[in-house]
């Protein structure tokens, strides 16, 4: 007799990509997460509803939901979940999957993350002044002015550096990240 066949459904892939994700199969649909979420009111679907959709295999709808993008990583759902499901980490997984699939209706959220990461990858440190201007310039130009006012305030209070800092062994970091990305790509293929 053979071990159960690997089904590789959408549900399985979400589970496989999340540390501790296998616990998702025991979701009670209790809604404790949905009720706890501070940005729940603005989400397309509550986290609970999203989990029902995952188990129903509604891949497209899940990956285009704004829900993961509205997750602020507060972990309120995770610590309250009666089944100890790593909900916040599942939200991360869904964002990653949505980016990869190009299936998110909330591009600027993804772009914010990506801009942020761009700086980190270039210099090993984040760089708020550059981040804010570049991100808003590219993604919501209408906000730059408002931001400018805040930025001046930040500058005046010595809270915004104008010159980006970099770590010394940036080559080492980049090599590590490159390798990690290669491994991640392999994971996706598998």
């Amino acid at each position: 007799m053979t071990a159960p066949q690997h089904r590789n459904t959408f549900f399985d892939r979400v589970v496989a990509a999340t540390p501790g994700g296998e616990l998702l199969s025991r979701c009670l649909q209790c809604g404790s997460c949905g009720g706890s979420c501070p940005s729940g009111a603005d989400m397309d679907h509550t986290p609970r509803a999203l989990f029902a959709m995952i188990s129903a295999g509604l891949e497209d709808e899940v990956l285009s939901s704004n829900t993961p993008w509205y997750c602020v990583s507060c972990y309120a759902c995770t610590t309250r979940c009666p089944q100890n499901i790593p909900i916040t980490d599942i939200m991360y997984t869904l964002k990653e999957m949505a980016i990869r699939a190009g299936r998110y209706d909330h591009p600027h959220a993804a772009k914010f993350s990506e801009t942020f990461i761009g700086f980190v990858e270039q210099r090993g440190r984040s760089f708020e002044a550059g981040l804010a201007t570049r991100y808003h310039l590219f993604h919501h130009p209408q906000q730059v002015i408002k931001l400018g006012i805040m930025g001046v305030g930040m500058l005046r209070r010595n809270r915004l550096p104008l010159r980006p800092k970099s770590i010394r062994q940036i080559d080492q970091l980049q090599a590590i990240l490159a390798e990690a990305k290669a491994l991640a790509a392999k994971e996706v293929e598998a």
């Binding site: 649909q29 209790c30 809604g31 404790s32 729940g40 609970r48 100890n84």
Partner: protein, 668 residues
């Protein structure tokens, strides 16, 4: 002794085994095993023809040992042991090889593998059986007296059943009165009959029964002995009130100047005095002095109660009494404890005034409770206009208790009814799943829906006092996801009732240890079998009943109380019980007296004999687990029927084919 003569029987079980295992081949092959004089295959061994075959062969071939290769020993070991016994062979000279559950059924597509495994298992049994020895089941006498621990409804029921059947019962209750949790309730679901009206008569019966010795305000300290003859030591705490003089007139507690919050019978919602009777219908009716809070015991001043007592019943010099009992059986009915809702800070209990627990609510709605049955907020006067009832508090939640508390859906429905009836308030029930599963319960649910309660499906996320809109100001806001809408909701209410779950008593582990029973993963006592033996335990003569075995309602608690009583009466009527002879014994000649085994035994069955400097197993206490056997460094403990030699032979037998099959290896 002459050479052993073994008979081997390989069962087809119709197609069940023969469909996968080549039974004929196994039987033929078994003929070649050492000591085997006859090996047969048979279509149905457990049928009368199969059994008769064994009996005939024992006589004809003068078999000394028998092996049957068929199903699980949990299925038919008894059947074949009896067959052997009928033919005059000691039943413990029989061994079973499980080639159905452990072979044919689990390797359906691997005929060769299954057949090989069957051969190995048969060989193991054949090798083992010749080391088996005749054993005699032990018989012990049963004393007719019974101890019942815990005077809740389950314990009262058990005590009354046995007492009514004419045998004596000692009912030990830790609190000053029997009654348990049920004594705190006003109405009981699903019929809504008054709890006191149905409980009080039973309490009086138990209190006045000639066959019941009531030991309240008492606890068991020590248990020795074994089924049929337990020695139990009970500490009866000093009441400071002489029961032979007191008339229960109540003058003492009226006059006592010290008021204490009553965390037991009032669930913390009301007060009592330092000298008090738990509740008006208490049995026995005598008060007790709470010496922690009495000023006389703290400072040496007061003695008011002594002054006012018309019968001079107060006695500050009274000492705890130690009572030694001898009983044949024990029933544990120690009940449950309510989940401590303060453990869920986001529900605000203890922080937000108008969050109540279910037990607090029971007192609130009880005519003899602190508000005389008026449902009001914590200020003691305002009637709520909206009430939220939160289900599954501390239950079905891995952060607290994983089990479902079984009664709280129903008690929540009961609360909804009482609130609506008494206050006309709007009621919301927040639930995950509705579980009104017994007779009449679903109908009760429907009735409450018809009465106008609102049901919202969603586990409550938090209860907060932080308002977000004018209509929320000054209210408690219940925050949840209405999972049927898929939307967050904030429901402002005046009062929240938390349906806290049922947990094992705080001392369940210690009590379990004292009586030699176990606690399961939820912490409740473990029954011998979850379906087929729900009131017995692994310790002969110790039974469990009521909510100490798992969360349950009153009808189930009563049923278990009666069931445990029936089991006890059964053994009393037999006068004797038969025990499996699978026991450990120590070869005293060779015991080095190291005492390592003494602490190993979970049943304290091993005593150290000081005079001889050796250890000895009390066979009536030993359950035959073998832990000591494996622990003894001098290897002088024998586990009957699981001896070192038997298991080693079994290993050798089970590996019979392996070495010869591997050409690279030289046989040892």
């Amino acid at each position: 002794m002459s050479e052993p003569r073994v008979g081997v029987y390989v069962c087809h079980c119709g197609h069940n085994i023969a469909g996968t295992v080549d039974v004929q081949h196994v039987a033929e092959w078994a003929m070649g095993l050492p000591n085997v004089v006859i090996a047969r295959d048979n279509r149905f061994m457990c049928a009368s023809t199969g059994q008769e075959q064994i009996e005939e062969d024992i006589k004809q071939f003068e078999l000394t040992h028998v092996v049957v290769a068929s199903c699980s020993p949990h299925m038919h070991e008894k059947t074949f042991r009896n067959a052997c016994a009928r033919a005059g062979l000691n039943p413990y000279l029989f061994e079973m090889a499980n080639i159905r559950e452990h072979a044919s059924w689990v390797h359906p597509n691997d005929r060769e593998g299954a057949t090989n495994k069957a051969k190995a298992l048969v060989s193991a049994a054949v090798h083992r059986v010749v080391h088996q020895q005749p054993l005699e089941p032990m018989k012990v006498d049963i004393r007719p007296e019974t101890l019942v621990v815990g005077g809740g409804i389950a314990g009262i029921q058990a005590a009354l059943e046995i007492a009514d059947a004419g045998y004596h019962v000692y009912l030990v209750e830790r609190e000053p009165s029997i009654g348990g949790h049920m004594a705190m309730f006003d109405k009981t679901f699903p019929t809504l009959d008054c709890a006191a009206c149905i409980l009080t008569p039973k309490m009086f019966d138990a209190g006045g029964h000639p066959n019941i010795t009531l030991l309240t305000y008492s606890e068991v300290e020590k248990v020795d002995g074994y089924v049929g003859n337990f020695q139990v030591r009970v500490r009866k705490k000093a009441r400071m009130v002489d029961e032979s003089l007191c008339t229960g007139c109540g003058t003492c507690w009226e006059k006592c100047p010290i008021k204490v919050v009553d965390t037991v019978w009032e669930a913390g919602l009301g007060y009592r005095k330092a000298i008090y009777r738990p509740f008006p219908q208490a049995v026995p009716k005598y008060p007790v002095i709470d010496i922690e809070n009495c000023t006389y015991f703290k400072t040496g001043k007061c003695r008011m109660c002594e002054k006012v007592c018309p019968t001079n019943a107060i006695n500050y010099e009274m000492q705890d009494e130690i009572i030694d009992l001898e009983v044949g059986n024990i029933i544990l009915a120690t009940g449950y404890k309510l989940f401590d809702a303060r453990r869920i800070p986001q529900y605000g209990y203890g922080r937000l005034e108008n969050v109540f627990t279910s037990l607090e609510f029971e007192r609130l709605t009880n005519a003899s409770g602190p508000t005389e049955g008026k449902i009001v907020l914590r200020d003691g006067e305002t009637m709520p206009q909206t009430v939220a009832i939160v289900h599954c508090v501390g239950s079905r939640d891995r952060n607290y208790n994983t089990h479902c508390s079984a009664i709280c859906c129903m008690s929540s429905l009961k609360f909804a009814h009482l609130v609506m009836e008494k206050t006309g308030a709007k009621v919301y029930n927040f639930y995950i799943d509705m579980r009104p599963i017994h007779k009449g319960y679903e109908e009760f649910y429907h009735r409450i829906m018809e009465e106008g309660a609102t049901f919202i499906r969603g586990k409550v996320s938090e209860i907060t006092d932080v308002a977000r809109s004018p209509e929320e100001e000054g209210k408690l806001i219940v925050v949840c996801e209405d999972t049927l809408l898929g939307r967050q909701r904030r429901v402002p209410v005046d009062m929240v009732i938390l349906a806290a779950g049922l947990e094992p008593q705080a001392d369940a582990q210690e009590i379990a240890h004292m009586f030699g029973v176990g606690c399961g993963d939820t912490g409740f006592f473990i029954e011998r079998h979850p379906k087929l033996d729900p009131v017995a335990t692994m310790t002969e003569g110790v039974f469990i009943a009521g909510a100490c075995q798992g969360a349950k309602d009153i009808p189930d608690s009563v049923a278990q109380g009666a069931a445990a009583a029936a089991r006890v009466l059964g053994t009393i009527n037999q006068r004797q019980v038969t025990l499996e002879p699978i026991r450990a014994s120590i070869d005293e000649e060779r015991c080095s007296g190291c005492r390592i085994c003494n602490n190993m035994c979970p049943y304290n069955a091993i005593d150290f004999i000081e005079e001889k400097g050796v250890s000895r197993v009390n066979p009536a206490l030993c359950k035959g687990c073998g832990t000591c056997v494996a622990a003894c460094p001098s290897q002088v403990i024998t586990g009957a029927h699981f001896t070192f030699e038997q298991i080693m032979a079994e290993i050798d037998g089970i590996m019979i084919d392996v070495l010869s099959d591997r050409p690279v290896v030289e046989a040892v």
